[in-house]
Subunit: 142 residues, 3 copies
Amino acid sequence: MKISARNTFSGTVAAVRLGAVNAEVDFTTAGGDNIVAIITNESVQNLALAAGTAAVALVKASSVMVLVEGSGLKLSARNCLSGSVVKLAAGPVSAEVGIALPGGEVVHASITQESVKELGIAVGDTVTAVFKASSVILAVAG
Amino acid sequence: MKISARNTFSGTVAAVRLGAVNAEVDFTTAGGDNIVAIITNESVQNLALAAGTAAVALVKASSVMVLVEGSGLKLSARNCLSGSVVKLAAGPVSAEVGIALPGGEVVHASITQESVKELGIAVGDTVTAVFKASSVILAVAG
Amino acid sequence: MKISARNTFSGTVAAVRLGAVNAEVDFTTAGGDNIVAIITNESVQNLALAAGTAAVALVKASSVMVLVEGSGLKLSARNCLSGSVVKLAAGPVSAEVGIALPGGEVVHASITQESVKELGIAVGDTVTAVFKASSVILAVAG
């Protein structure tokens, strides 16, 4: 994929629900995870998205949060994908966390290095990648 | 809070307005600040959000901008919280700014180090943390 | 502009379409580029936005992705601005890319340094800055 978004999931549109301005699109990744995207109705039309359309879901790493186990929280964020930390790259301010999902895909999250330390995130931990439906971009072959 | 979002505000839902796909939720923090969140109607249902519900508002530091005094701008961003810069962490590209609100909470913004320099942001300055309603996640005890 | 958002485009509102909660605003930059913004209906009212209103569109660098040529993708992201890479600032984790548009404006994208390497982005390349309509904030003189 020739785009800087660190997270690209190939898969299929499962359902489209149009609203007044925005539409809600259910998407299933090749690895079997469900992703919800909020995009504009106009994009649904431009991309001719419908149940069954092959597409790619893109999520920028900076839109992804990391939730650690035992938080006991229910989140409004529609996308919560659990996996195992397989990579940690630390800078002075920023850090990147790679989270491998059971289906084999790796989700990347750009978070602050201070969060990595405060949460004690380490390779091998089970964590959840969290991102809002409004952070998801859908793409189709042009 | 066991999530990497640098900004977590405990508080109470003040009002919920459902739309076609998205809902607008007014939230009041324990410190007395008002936050507006745009989440999906389905999340309102899943979390059983209504006026009076105790909840937590989460905002990723990368979703927060810093507005300095004297800009004379009115912004479409629904969340503009003024406070005092209490922390500045600089990296080669990224920087983190901590802004203490009058109610005692600290808002963290991840911005570029170049913006810190261009705006001349320093500890002690009065600035405004700005974030869109669509950048807010709401959470309830699960 | 006294705000940390790295991307500020002066221009004029071209059209406003109200929805149930959110509105879609078409905006034309001084450089002649079209930008679509999703903001709340309430912000449209607060800022008195209508066709012809002079305004500024703000986009945080962290909301911008970089698409390189030959991807053959159609994206749901409503804002895709092509230009030439004029600046690359690299940190250990983060990088900032400056993309000059034909109209003279420069769009800044904060992406990971790993993406810069993987995509082989270099000064002089023709690339496309991609951001969602929901990442755009509109501002008017207060």
